[in-house]
Amino acid sequence: MKTITYYFSLVASILLALPAVAQAAPECGAKTGIKATGSPIKVGGIHGNAAPGDFSSATDAASAYFDCVNENGGINGRPIQYLVENDQWNPELAAQAAAKLIEDENVVAMVGNGSFVEMSVNAPTYKENGIMAMASACAVSECFESSNIVSTNQGPLASSIGAAMYAVEELNAQNISCIGLAIPSVGNWSCGAVESYMTSKGLTGSSVLLNPAAPDVNSGLLEAVASGADSILVNLPAGLGIAFLGAAQEQDLAAVYSWTSSTPLYDMSVPAALGEYWDGKIFVSAELTSLDGQGIDNLNWKAVMDAYADENDPRDTFSQSGYLSAKIFVETLLSMDAEQLDDRNAVSDSIKAINDKRSDLMCGPYYVGEADRHMPNHAGIVVVNKNGNFEVVRDCFEYEGPYFEPLFSTEKALGLR
């Protein structure tokens, strides 16, 4: 009797441990399993982590991936030394961080950048110093319209257009009111593009721009109501978005309009914050693929985070984005000549040569190229908040609209379409 129990429990524990074993094997870099011990390659990253929002998950993920790579042979035996700075949403600190990383530490590239102010302050600096920034959490136009910054995330403009497309194609929207931040390089830029898209479809679009510090979101809501719209596109950071939807809830408007949102509301704490009232009503255009996806990269991202990141590091879209930037960066370094790894110009040239990198995390191919604007990620999915979670309602689709024309011609030249 005892022997049977013994063998039974042995087999049971092995069977139970199998999934854990299957999960806990992240694959990074050269996958050699040998720790890298050469002289370090310096890479920098800047994130913004202070009120009103925390974008640090991108650099956390990149850091975890680099740790994993260092455990697996590094880059030709050399570990990556990842130096991360926090700009605390302060432009002076952002400039100081860039000065420290570029001038004092001589990093060869920036990876995983995520901030509201960093890109607009440092874009000229990056250009002057010939350094490329493979960003992961961008929210301002300067990030997508500068020669030396390229991001794995979509940003508010592309994401809003995705939401607008869904509203027009699936929710019968004829007149969209786009609620954005009254910051020229954020709200005006992205909501302006939504208006152009609606016009190009022969429909109507308008913008309501909120001052980020204003306590009164009510009058913004009323402005949207007064515009005669039949669909509202919430293009705000999560905290402000929740406040806006709270005001809409007060007015019992959930059934009166169709509701879409750009990517910031695709965050696991949002369904609980919104509550039952909004269940099944908010269609969010996510900039990367589903957090529960079963693709290789998505599972590997989770494995890397579980093995190398802190428990408290959020596993959100920016985290996926940071992982992806880091992964593509490492692949680029691995394809370079070993002697050139410390030469910033050589690294920048290799980054600019990146073409057609595919991943299940992104709907389209990632590419850089020599151009004065970069937005490789302009296709996404749409999810809806249901039962305290998110459900995918539309799988990868590419965004259209007048804004993307120049990008399409660059892609044709690179042989991507």
Binding site: A97, A99, V117, S120
Partner: protein
């Protein structure tokens, strides 16, 4: 410390700073010190106004924003040299300060502090709405893309040369105030501080001298903002929130409003301490707690601030009382 000792100390410090600091060799610290020096100029304006006239200005950073705005607009609109743009920025900010001060000049105490706070709040909204010029068209001059280049002074193009240039202006700022204090305006201010009624009775034009003081404070804010614009090449509205103006005044009191080294200490607390916290990965909210506690401590037990306490310490060490 007697006045001439202070002046000597100041001259020596200025020479030491302008020789050593710009050659500090670290890109990050050059940037931090440049920003700190800009704030030294701004804090000087607030400090002398409070120390010599008893007037509280809770809107100094907002005025810096005005100076920075004018500087950027001039830079992108015309092809005039840096120094000319600087003068325009200083004059415009001074006039702006006067306009704000008009209702305040006949008020005292709390109401003046409150109206500058209202101005700070209003300007915060305006900066957040209209942002700062970056080479675009129209009056506001904003375009949704990377900023157009900024032209620094001919003789101060590099970061370290710019810092040296800026330090010279810091010394100039201190010198101008010292000049004021030892001549007619300074004497008028001292009388007004003692008793407005007595000053009026002795024939001092109280409103005129108060306006002069406020104008000087505004001019210094404009100077600081313009230099800040030059150091970064662009400005962001988040630097000029009302809470920053409040914090600036708070730290001026903590540093010590009567002495130039008090002002320097305040600027170091305002800009270097947060940078150090960032370097050491400490939560920036801890800095808030420390500042708040320092402010309360300063107000209750050390009205002359850290500078005053340093003074007392030195006097004790020297064994005599100045």
């Amino acid at each position: 410390m007697t006045i001439s000792r202070q002046v000597w100390l100041g001259l020596i410090a200025f020479l030491a700073a302008s020789i050593s600091l710009p050659s500090i060799g670290s890109g990050q610290w050059l940037s931090i010190l440049t920003s700190t020096s800009c704030f030294v100029i701004a804090i000087t304006g607030v400090a002398f106004l409070y120390a010599r006239l008893g007037m509280v200005s809770l809107g100094q950073v907002a005025l810096m924003g005005v100076g920075g705005w004018v500087m950027l607009r001039m830079n992108h609109a015309y092809l005039l040299p840096f120094e000319l743009n600087l003068m325009v920025a200083v004059v415009v900010t001074m006039v702006f300060g006067w306009i704000l001060a008009l209702p305040a000049l006949r008020m005292r105490g709390l109401y003046l502090a409150l109206i500058t706070l209202m101005a700070a709040g209003g300007l915060e909204v305006i900066f957040a709405t209209f942002r700062f010029p970056n080479g675009g068209e129209g009056f506001w001059g904003v375009m949704p893309s990377v900023a157009a280049p900024f032209r620094r002074p001919e003789i101060a193009q590099s970061d370290s040369a710019y810092l040296r240039y800026l330090i010279t202006f810091v010394a100039l700022g201190f010198a101008i105030i010292r000049l004021h204090l030892s001549s007619a305006p300074g004497r008028a201010w001292a009388m007004i501080r003692r008793s407005e009624a007595a000053a009026l009775a002795s024939g001092v034009n109280v409103t005129y001298y108060k306006a002069w003081g406020f104008g000087l404070s505004g001019a210094l804010a404009g100077l600081a903002g313009a230099f800040l614009a030059g150091s970064l090449g662009l400005l962001d509205a988040s630097t000029f929130r009302a809470s920053e103006s409040i914090l600036l005044f708070a730290l001026a009191v903590v540093g010590g409003v009567r002495y130039w080294y008090g002002v320097v200490i305040a600027a170091l607390l305002l800009r270097v301490l947060p940078a150090l916290f960032n370097n050491w990965s400490l939560d920036p909210d801890l800095a808030l707690i420390i500042f708040g506690a320092a402010l309360m401590h300063s107000i209750i037990t050390a009205p002359q601030g850290i500078a005053g306490q340093l003074n007392d310490l030195l006097a004790k060490l020297r064994g005599k009382h100045d």
